[in-house]
Symmetry: C2
Subunit: 477 residues, 2 copies
C-alpha cells in the first residue's frame, strides 16, 4: 500500500502521535468509546516493560498477587477524599446473571479499598509486617477525553500496595519505589525523568503525599509517567488495618501504593519518535535488530539466506526479525521498520557475503551518518556494542532536549512565555492559590517539586512572598 | 498458632480442598460473592504456569495482545448459539461516569465477539493469514455455585484466537493447541490428562466442535482442564471476517479459540495433594527447595547459617527459600512447608555441617522412606536430579491412580456402579439422548471421546445400538 507521509511533528504533533501508533501497529481503536486494543507489537513493548519492572520489584522483596476486578460501591465511601476523587470516573455493574444487583459493583479504578479490606483480614501482628504486594492488571476510569496509551478508559498497569509498622518505613518504601521507577525510566526507557513530590492539588485522592516521575515529551509537554503514594494511616483507618505491636498494643498500619501504566508506552513514543516514526530504545524494543536481505532474484537469495541464517545463530541473544518477504522492495521494508522504530537494521546483499561484511543502519541516526560496515566474524560483539551505544545515545539526546527546554524565569511574565514551549523551574511559596492562578493564566501546573533543590531561598514566582523550594511548572498530558 | 488437623481426603474431600487452599495461603474469599483473591503463593504458581504455556505458544508462532474488557451487548447477539450459551452468565455495566449508558456493556465472559470484530478490520488478504494471537487476562461469568479456582465469578486465563484460510488449517491449529495443553499438563503439571473431543452437548457455545484435556482428581471426579475449539466459519460470518484469496475472491476465514485458566491450579491441588496438604510438582512449584536450619541457639546458628548461604549459592538455578525464623520450632516449619507442598526440604544442623552432609526429605514420599543424605560437595547435581525424580514419580503415581479408576463396563448397570467412584470407558452410539439419560441416572457426563480408540465396534452402553467409538463417562467438577 502506498501511504501518505506521516505528518511532521513540528506541524501537528497530536496527529503525528495518532498516526505513528496506527501505522506502527501499536494499538487500534476498540468498538467501545475510549478503549483501545493493544496490538501484538505494542503489547510486546509492554511485556518488556513488565519484565524489567517485575524483576526490579522482586529484587526489592515484593511478590505478586491478584485482587478482584469488582469492588462493592460501599467500599469507596469509606475514605472521604478517595470517593470524591474517583466517583465521577466509575463504571458500575448493576446487572449480574440477568438480575438487578442489590449492591452495585464498581469496576476497579484502583485497588486501595479492596486490598485494604483484605489486609485487615491478613495482618494481625508486627511479625506479619511489612506486607509487600504488587498486582499486574487492568483498571477502568470513565474518562471523557481519551488518547491512545495516555488516557484510555481501560488501561493496563501494576499497582503495588504495602503495609508497614511505622510512618518512616512507609515513607522509605514510597521513595524506594519512586527511585525504582526513575532508574527503570533512565536505564531501560532512555527517558530522563525528573522525580519529585507532587503539590497538594495534584496528589492522589486519599494520599498523605504523592511522588511522581515526570518526563518531557517531544513537544515539551510533561507526562506523569509513574506515581508513588504515602497513604499515611488514611486507608488503614478506613479499613481497620491494625497490628499488635511488640508490647501487645493495637496499632494502625501505614500504607503505600505505587503504579506505572501503559501510559509509559506513550512516554516512549513521544520522547524518542521522529518524523519517520517510532524510535525504540534497544532494551525495550520488541525487535532489536531487523535483517533485510538485499536480493534481486532467487539466485542471489540462495547465496544470501544461508548467511542470514548463520547471523541469526550468532546473534542468538538478540531479539531478531528476518524480513524475507519477497514481494516487497528493500526500500519499502526500510521505511516499514523505521516506522516501527527497530533500533538497528542489518542489510545483507551478495557482494556483502563475498566480502564477509554486513551493513548496519542505526535508527536513531538517520541517513549516511548512521551507517556502519560490520565484520561478519565479530558480529555478535559489534551488534551488542552498537545496541548499548544506541541506548546511551538516546538517553543523552533526550537529556539534552530536556535541559534545553527548562528555563528559570526572571519573573511571572517570563514564566508565562516559557511554559508556551518549555518547563519553568521556579520558586514557589507552597500556596495552592498561587498554583491555581498560574494554571488559570497559562494551563501550566506544578509537575513536581524535585529533591534536588538549589538551596537557599527566593521569592514565589507568582505572589512574590518568600519561598524555599523550586518547582517545575509546565503544561501536561 | 496451633491449628486443627486438616480433614482427611477420604472423609471430606471438599472440605479438605477448601482448607488446603486457605492454610497454604493459595487464595482467600473476596468481599464480592463468588470472587477470589489469589494470594502471592497461589499467584506464583499461576505465574509459573503462565511462563511455561507462554513459551510454548511463542514457540508455535503465537503473539500476545490485549483486547478490551468491555463488549457492547449487541455483539453477543450476532452469533446465535453463543448468545444462548452466555447470556445467563453476563455481568453488565449500565452506568459510566455517573450517567446511564445508551448501550449496556458486557464485562467479557470470553472474547470471540470483540476479537472477531477487530479481525474483520485487520484481515484483508490471504497474505494476512494466519493470524495467531493470544491474550492473558481476566474474564467474568456470573456463576451461582462457585469453588475456589474451579469455578469463580472472575477468573484468570489465556485465550488464543486464530484465523485461517481453510478448514484444514483451523482444524490443525485446534489440535496443535490441544496437544500443547496435553504436553504442558504431562511435563510440567505431572497430570496425566486424557485429550479428546467433546460431545455436542458439551461443546463450546458457537463452536463447530470442541476438544478438551480431562484430568482425574483425587476423588476420581473429572476436571476439564483446558479446551480448544474449531469455530468453523460461525464467528467469521457473524463478524464478517473475510479475505481476498489468491484468485482475488472474497472468502470467509476459519477461526479457532482455545483457553486454559486458573482452574488448572485446582487440578494441580486435587491431582497431587495428600492428607498433609499440597504436593507441588517441582517444575511449577513457586519454591522448589526449602532449607530449614536445625539449631537450638545462637552458637549453632552461627555455625549453620554460613553453610546455608553457601548452599544457596550452589543451588542458584533452583527456586529456594531459607526458613530462618528463630521463634518457630523445626517441627512446626516442617508441617508448614509440607502444607504448602514444597517438593524438597533440606535440613542442616551443626553435626551435618561437621560431616559435610545435608538431610533431604521428599514431599511426595512422606516419612523415613523419603529421607536421603546428600553430600555437600555434589549438592547441585543431587538436588537437580532429585527434583527431576520427584517430577517423574508424581506423574507415574497420578497415572497409576488414574488407570486404576478407569473401568470398561459390561453393561449399563455396571456403568452406573463404576461412575460412583471412577470413570467408565464405554461404547457410545453418538446419540445425545443416550448421553442425557446417563446424566439423569448417574450425574455422569461424557468427558471426551479420545483419539486413542480400541478400534472395531461394539454396542452403545445405554441403548445397545451399534457403536464405533468409546467415550469416558464420569462425574465432573
Amino acid at each position: 500500500m502506498a501511504e501518505e507521509k506521516l505528518p511532521k511533528r513540528s506541524e501537528n504533533y497530536s496527529e503525528w502521535y495518532n498516526q505513528v501508533i496506527q501505522r506502527a501497529e501499536m494499538a487500534d481503536y476498540a468498538p467501545v468509546r475510549g478503549c483501545m486494543v493493544v496490538r501484538p507489537y505494542g503489547w510486546a513493548l509492554w511485556e518488556n516493560i513488565q519484565q524489567s519492572l517485575d524483576r526490579r520489584f522482586k529484587a526489592t522483596g515484593h511478590v505478586n498477587a491478584a485482587f478482584p476486578l469488582f469492588i462493592p460501591m460501599s467500599f469507596f465511601e469509606k475514605e472521604k477524599e478517595h470517593v470524591e476523587g474517583f466517583s465521577p470516573e466509575l463504571a458500575v455493574v448493576t446487572i449480574g446473571g440477568g438480575e438487578k444487583l442489590e449492591e452495585p459493583l464498581v469496576v476497579r479504578p484502583t485497588s486501595e479499598t479492596v486490598i485494604g479490606y483484605m489486609y485487615s483480614k491478613w495482618i494481625k501482628s508486627y511479625r506479619d509486617l511489612p506486607v509487600l504486594i504488587n498486582q499486574w492488571g487492568n483498571v477502568v476510569r470513565w474518562e471523557m477525553r481519551t488518547r491512545m496509551f495516555l488516557r484510555t478508559m481501560e488501561f493496563y498497569w501494576q499497582e503495588g500496595h504495602t503495609a508497614h509498622a511505622t510512618f518512616e518505613e512507609a515513607e522509605e518504601e514510597t521513595r524506594r519505589m519512586l527511585n525504582t521507577y526513575a532508574s527503570f525510566a533512565y536505564e531501560d526507557g532512555a527517558i530522563p525523568v525528573l522525580p519529585g513530590k507532587k503539590s497538594n492539588a495534584e496528589k492522589f485522592a486519599g494520599a498523605l503525599h504523592t511522588y511522581s516521575i515526570e518526563a518531557m515529551m517531544g513537544d515539551t509537554k510533561a507526562l506523569q509517567s509513574g506515581t508513588s503514594h504515602n497513604l499515611g494511616q488514611n486507608f488503614a483507618k478506613a479499613f481497620d488495618i491494625r497490628y499488635l505491636d511488640q508490647s501487645n498494643q493495637l496499632q494502625y498500619c501505614w500504607t503505600t501504593s505505587w503504579g506505572l501504566s501503559t501510559r509509559f508506552v506513550g512516554a516512549v513514543i513521544m520522547t524518542h519518535g521522529d518524523d519517520q516514526g517510532l524510535v525504540l530504545p534497544p532494551r525495550l524494543a520488541p525487535i532489536q535488530v531487523v535483517i533485510v536481505p538485499i536480493v534481486r532474484n532467487d539466485e542471489e537469495k540462495s547465496v544470501v539466506m544461508p548467511v542470514i541464517e548463520q547471523l541469526r545463530q550468532q546473534l542468538s541473544d538478540v531479539r531478531i526479525k528476518v524480513d524475507d518477504r519477497m514481494e516487497l522492495t528493500p526500500g519499502f521494508k526500510f521505511n516499514d521498520w523505521e516506522m516501527r522504530g527497530v533500533p538497528l537494521r542489518l542489510e545483507v546483499g551478495p557482494r556483502d557475503v563475498q566480502n564477509g561484511v554486513v551493513v548496519a543502519a542505526r535508527r536513531d541516526v538517520p541517513g549516511k551518518a548512521g551507517k556502519i560496515t560490520l565484520n561478519m566474524e565479530q558480529i555478535d560483539k559489534q551488534v551488542n556494542d552498537l545496541l548499548k551505544e544506541i541506548q546511551q545515545a538516546m538517553l543523552e539526546r533526550a537529556t539534552t532536549f530536556r535541559d534545553a527546554h527548562i528555563y528559570e524565569p526572571k519573573d511571572y511574565a517570563d514564566l508565562q512565555e516559557i511554559v508556551k514551549e518549555g518547563w519553568a523551574f521556579a520558586w514557589w511559596c507552597g500556596d495552592s492559590e498561587c498554583e491555581t492562578k498560574v494554571k488559570e493564566d497559562t494551563k501550566a501546573t506544578i509537575r513536581c517539586i524535585p529533591d534536588e533543590q538549589p538551596g537557599g531561598s527566593g521569592t514565589c514566582v507568582y505572589c512574590g512572598k518568600p519561598a524555599t523550594q523550586k518547582a517545575y511548572f509546565s503544561k501536561a498530558y
